[in-house]
Amino acid sequence: MDDILLLDAIERYKNGEMTAQEKTFLDELRKNNPDIDQLAVEHLFFLQQLKHTADLKTLKHSLKEVESKLVEEGVIAKKSLHGKAKVIYLWNLTRKTMAVAATIAVIVSIFTAGMFTAYNSKKSEKVITPLVYNKFKQVDAKLKTIETKLKLAAVPVPLPVKPKLEANFRATGFLIDVGGYIVTNAHVVNSAKNLIVENKKGEQFFAQAVYISNTTDLAILKISDTSFRTFTLLPYSIRRSSAELGEQIFTLGYPREEVVYGEGYLSAKSGYSGDTAAYQISISVNPGNSGGPVINKNGEVIGVISSKETNADGVVFAIKSKNIYKALEEINRDEQIKLPLKGTIKGLDRVQQIKKIEDCVFMVKGN
């Protein structure tokens, strides 16, 4: 009970609720009583900590309120990842760490086992305790240096080209204007915050979406990087009219880190469940091919690969190229896009055609 009285006194002292007389009395008490002084110091410190905790709680509450107000007003962007995207995001975050951890675990455990055998075989010859202890220490130290070395070696992922960002998706896109405008799918860039495009040499350029249409699933990106050198001519043209049933077509894309060629034919003039804005084509594609150009033998882009039916092989849908023209009508006038009028690869054999086209097909990456 005396303690409680004292605590109360200290608290009133701290809050400035004491009369001058009381204060002098307490000061006097502390001066003559080391125990009481100790308790007072401790309690004052404790009260300070408690006050910090309380103040911070109030502050955090205010911060949260202001934040949600500003999120509602749109001053603060709110974009949360959900479901699969979140999983991929988390996976990408931990993937590298997990790989490093796995490597260390494997190598270290093998190493530990080896050392142990060596030590055990020697133990039968010499029984000197201090040496054994040292041995363990040495092993320990060695393991430590190996571990640090491994960590140092494993963290920076060696890449041929300096990456501009860590991507969590990959797709395809192709140039429609020599100045660096690229067509890809809207679903590719929809949730992306940072975008880069990479050519087959591995050169990367920052890009921005200047047009996204979820109805046609088309997007137009603009390469914003100054290091991008504009083209003088694009080898293909963009077809304005419909393509014919049975036309031989081919595509280039990035289902892998390397450009991949695929060929097939136009199998229907409408897309998924009769969608007239798309074609059905028969071709082998994989995730990453999205946004790739569908080109006929005359070197005309007739479509943009967008999706495939999951439970049927080779049933792929491509957005008709005339939607690109439609996109240009809707796009901001500030973007000066001139589509290539005439291709230069008509009549060339396929290998030559591909050689000319592959420079204009980009990997679209981002996060």
Partner: protein, 188 residues
């Protein structure tokens, strides 16, 4: 009003957790921090977290007795966010590319160290709070956090009078203190 005295007022407001001051600081500085985080491998969520933490650091500075404003709020927040984000990226091993510094910065390492220590202490206090159990927790929160008066507390907690509530409060406080210091001294 000069820029400097306007900033002083904002900081004073922040030290008192005033919503208007907080809002002004957010409005004037959030954009720059967000674009910095986004440019450097961050997500919108990261920007919000980092900014919030930087606001707490700024608050701690503004609320301290020895506080002097040596640079603009903007510069200070940018410097703090930059350090915090760099640290976070290193923790995540998400990327190790050097940052481009587009804004003026001031050294903030010392403050961040203090901030981290404070964070730890506060975590200890919160953990101790969680351990003392009810009704102690609510009682102490009502008095120390929500700043309710003893008669009020006596009433809502069903004590016969304020003195009874007060005695109870001190008993709880002694327990909290014991748990807190047990961990605190362990950590030293």
């Amino acid at each position: 009003m000069s820029i400097n005295s306007k900033e002083q007022l904002l900081l004073k407001g922040l030290a008192d957790s005033e919503a208007t001051a907080i809002e002004t600081i957010y409005r004037e500085n959030y954009g720059i921090i967000q674009s910095f985080i986004l440019k450097n491998n961050g997500y919108y969520e990261d920007a919000r977290d980092i900014f919030q933490e930087a606001m707490i650091v700024l608050y701690e500075k503004a609320a301290s007795d020895s506080f002097v404003l040596t640079c603009q709020i903007k510069t200070y927040l940018y410097s703090v966010c930059r350090r915090l984000w760099l640290k976070k990226l290193q923790q995540l091993q998400r990327y190790n590319q050097p940052f481009e510094i587009t804004e003026e910065t001031v050294p903030v390492d010392e403050e961040l160290e203090t901030h981290e220590k404070k964070n730890e202490d506060i975590t200890l206090m919160e953990q101790a709070m969680d351990k003392i159990g009810e009704p102690c927790k609510s009682l102490l929160e009502a008095y120390y956090f929500q700043k309710k008066s003893m008669p009020e507390i006596a009433n809502s907690f069903g004590y016969t009078n304020a003195d009874n509530a007060k005695t109870q409060k001190y008993k709880c406080l002694v327990r909290l203190k014991k748990i807190f210091f047990a961990q605190y001294k362990n950590g030293e």
